[in-house]
């Protein structure tokens, strides 16, 4: 018996680790409404925030939950809520408001089988397009997709960093299998991320007059001032100029609308998070994310045991789409396999144009996790 060795391994679900990551990122406000399979985040945040006197509150519905978070963020706090597909459907109005008013907020969506009420305790990766294309106008919502409890922790911290530095809503797209499955997590191995905070407005910056949505370059992120502090806040979900004044189709207003996307596109290379396992002379590249990336990893091991040459790419930052990483990983391969737990190949549709000269094969399924052998069969 090796009794001298110490470890700090704990059993944690993905949901618990999203909550712990949020706490480590400095989240001070959580509003929640129960929904399987996301309720574990709600419960953990209630415990963690209330014990230190920060704010965790039950809301009467999902719309209120996100609106409370957006309001608290306007007051200056880092905020988060958690839901699943049916709750996200209700939040879409408010997420657009957060995006338009450049208010940082983090939303964890723990996917379950849809459509409608679907299957509360069944996993799925069917909300990819619903999460990303939730805005009128099709603005980019950064989406992070963890595949295990450790990644839940790390991506939760990262989501807050992006939300703060970009002044925009960021989604953590988990799913039932990641959120409710317990993993053994070694706390000694968890990577910390320096805490990030939205850039506060200072008199020296730009001009002495605070303009709510001011920038010099169209891709700049405006400095933030909180409701209740010295500088007058003029927040609005209407199309507005840099002052936050409602204007119809004047040049500055149209530019502000471009700016909402530009600030993200200009930084998209910094936002890339992928885990790649590239084999020289690989014939096949398998791409996956979330729970199915775990299946992919297992099938890659089996394929190589069979002597096949194969590469894999686990995409943790689904949006903005890490185009360069996908192109690079696909270099030299004949076939690209994209595995995801939805029937129509949602992410495959998004990325297939990037690799259109390759043979593209989707591995898709609903109701149950994709099995390693189902991916293995597609590897050349």
């Amino acid at each position: 018996m090796n009794s001298n060795k110490i470890s700090n391994i704990k059993l944690r679900t993905g949901n618990q680790m999203i909550a712990e990551g949020a706490m480590r990122a400095g989240c001070k406000f959580f509003a929640g409404y129960p929904i399987t399979p996301a309720s574990g985040i709600y419960k953990s945040m209630i415990d963690l925030l209330q014990q230190q006197g920060d704010i965790a509150i039950s809301s009467p519905d999902e719309i209120s939950a996100l609106a409370y978070c957006v309001g608290a963020s306007m007051r200056g706090l880092k905020t988060m809520t958690a839901t699943s597909g049916p709750g996200w459907a209700l939040m879409i109005e408010t997420i657009q408001y957060a995006l338009m008013t450049e208010t940082p907020v983090v939303i964890a969506i723990v996917q379950r089988l849809g459509p409608s009420t679907g299957g509360a305790t069944q996993g799925a990766q069917g909300d990819i397009l619903l999460a990303e294309f939730a805005t009128s106008g099709g603005y980019t919502i950064p989406i992070l997709c963890p595949s295990n409890s450790v990644e839940c922790f790390e991506l939760s911290m990262l989501a807050f960093k992006w939300a703060e530095l970009l002044r925009t809503p960021v989604v953590i797209l988990s799913d039932k299998e990641v959120g409710m499955t317990t993993d053994s997590v070694d706390y000694f191995d968890l990577k910390e991320l320096p805490s990030a905070l939205r850039v506060p407005f200072q008199v020296e910056s730009i001009s002495n007059n605070y303009r709510m949505y001011d920038y010099q370059k169209v891709s700049d992120v405006p400095a933030f001032a909180a409701v209740g502090e010295e500088w007058k806040v003029t927040a609005t979900g209407s199309a507005h100029n840099k002052y936050g004044a409602l204007k119809k189709n004047d040049l500055e207003t149209l530019e502000v609308l471009h700016h909402l996307e530009e600030k993200i596109q200009a930084r998209k290379d910094d936002l890339v998070v992928v885990k790649k396992d590239i084999q020289i002379d690989a014939q096949t590249l398998v791409i996956s994310f979330g729970i199915t990336a775990r299946t992919m990893n297992e099938s890659i091991i089996q394929a190589r045991e069979e002597g096949k040459k194969v590469s894999s790419l686990n995409i943790l930052s689904l949006f903005p789409v890490p185009e360069k990483e996908i192109i690079k990983a696909a270099e030299g391969v004949k076939r690209v396999v994209i595995a995801e737990e939805n029937f129509s190949g949602q992410y495959r549709k998004v990325i297939s144009l990037i690799i259109k000269e390759k043979e593209i094969i989707g591995v898709n399924k609903i109701g149950l996790m994709i099995k390693p052998k189902e991916i293995l069969e597609t590897i050349l």
């Binding site: 700090n8 059993l11 009467p60 309001g71 905020t79 109005e93 007058k232 990893n297 099995k371």
Partner: protein, 459 residues
């Protein structure tokens, strides 16, 4: 920063009201401004949250206070979020005032109810002109009976909602109904804003564009509508029985700094060796209340002590406390990727519910001959190729201990890791070894000649 001067108005210079001639909204804006001046509020401590509709135009009229122009009906929810943050984690100086119309108030009805229930320090000015003025005068939930609008051309046949009554029933501390031309409107708004906690002032008015042209209205029309609705004017309730939310919350959950050592509450643990060559999958099936999932959890904790990686997935009916209870556990020497168990190494079944659930998943016909099944001897098992061991779980253990006993038996028989890793845990958790695991039972399991391909050869 700047010296606070007593303001004379918070409105923009030469403020031109964007509303139709004769519209009550202009009165409301000026009386709100007057009330805030009398309260002598520092503009940075004023937060005007506006809804959608004509009343939503007010934000551009105010020069110095914070303004948050929101989505339709949701203004009170955003205001609640701002106030919750302000009253608990900031200085609680902010006065948040919502301006909403009758249409928005019905969309955001639950936001109003919840704000009143919480008793957040939000004052709602509800401008009720009985219709949707901005979009063409359509009837709203506040339209009186017989009210003529473009969408009720023959007169409204649905009774109006009494929002004041709703707010009183939601335990609001301050509720008033006024007419926009009332001389004392500023006094009532003053009191509402000064009230510590949730307050609502419904201000009734007529839309000059859509209400007055189509309805036969006399000079006392608003009073008549109130009478017809069976409502009253004036301050309907003014009481301070409850503390505002921030005060209650902060006394219940005082600010406390949690140290890093407190955060890492579980101490570092001892590590045992293990004999596992590869990842294995174990399925536990039983009934709700049988502690199946907690036994599986304990097994995972033991596996971790034995330096193994693990995953655990549970399943049960949505009603939680009835029917089957299932746990799927993977343990292995390296990181576990796929968490599914397509080809289980071990299946433990302790109840009929468990059999039924596994049968519905069609598991028995797929089990391989290398799979070991431990099943309670009282149960009928469907046909399978697996190695079945029928054991007296129900005879020797109480129902809530059968799953844990079976796991202990499996660890003892297979020697995947030292049984102490498991027994140490249950000693701590249940303070008893004997009661859980009768000795004769363990001996019986140990006597099974158990050879598995995933166990390291013993030296």
């Amino acid at each position: 920063m700047n010296e606070i001067k007593t303001p004379t108005t918070y409105l923009v210079e030469n403020c031109i009201m964007p509303f139709c001639k004769g519209c009550g909204h202009s009165h409301i804006v000026r009386k709100l401004d007057e009330a805030m001046v009398r309260l002598n509020l520092d503009p940075k401590n004023i937060n005007l949250v506006s809804d959608i509709g004509c009343i939503g135009l007010v934000d551009s009229l105010f020069k110095t206070p914070h303004t948050v122009h929101t989505t339709h009906g949701r203004s009170t929810a955003f205001a609640t979020g701002i106030e919750l943050a302000d009253c608990i984690l900031f200085d609680s100086k902010l006065k948040t005032i919502v301006l909403i119309g009758d249409g928005g108030s019905m969309i955001g009805f639950l936001h109003l109810v919840q704000a009143a229930l919480l008793n957040v320090d939000v004052t709602v000015i509800l401008a009720n002109n009985f219709l949707f003025g901005m979009t063409g005068g359509q009837n709203s939930s506040a339209s009186p009976i017989d009210f003529i609008t473009p969408t009720t051309p023959n007169g409204n046949i649905v009774p109006p909602l009494d929002m004041c009554k709703m707010m009183i029933d939601s335990h609001a501390g301050f509720v008033a109904r006024k007419i926009s031309t009332d001389k004392d409107l500023a006094d009532v708004i003053f009191k509402a804003i000064a009230h510590p906690g949730f307050a609502l002032v419904e201000i009734i008015e007529l839309c000059t564009e859509y209400a007055t042209p189509f309805n036969k209205l006399t000079g006392k029309a608003l009073q008549e509508i109130v009478n017809k609705n069976g409502q009253e004017l004036g301050i309907l309730i003014e009481k301070q029985e409850r503390n505002e939310f921030g005060v209650v919350y902060s006394s219940k959950f005082p600010k406390k700094i949690i140290s890093e050592t407190e955060k890492v509450s579980e101490s570092a643990n001892r590590i045992y060796e293990n004999n596992l060559k590869r990842k294995i999958g174990i399925i536990l099936a039983g009934s709700a209340g049988g502690k199946v999932q907690s036994a599986a959890r304990m097994f995972c904790e033991a596996a971790v002590l034995a330096n193994l990686k693990c995953t655990q997935k549970n399943d049960n009916p949505v009603t939680q406390g009835s029917g089957f209870s299932l746990s799927e556990v993977c343990i292995g020497p390296t990181e576990i990727f796929y968490t599914g168990i397509d080809d289980p190494d071990v299946v433990i079944i302790v109840s009929q519910d468990g059999i039924r659930e596994l049968q519905s998943k069609k598991i028995f016909s797929t089990l391989s001959s290398s799979c070991v099944v431990f099943v309670d001897e009282s149960l009928e098992l469907p046909e399978t190729n697996a190695n079945v061991y029928r054991l007296p779980f129900s005879k020797m253990c109480k129902p809530n201990k059968m799953a844990a006993s079976a796991l202990l038996g499996y660890i003892s028989a297979s020697d995947i890791f030292p049984v102490e890793a498991f027994t140490e845990l249950f000693k701590i958790k249940f303070r008893s070894e004997e009661e859980f695991f009768p000795k004769e039972f363990i001996e019986k399991i140990k006597s099974i000649n158990f050879n598995a391909d995933y166990i390291n050869e013993k030296n």
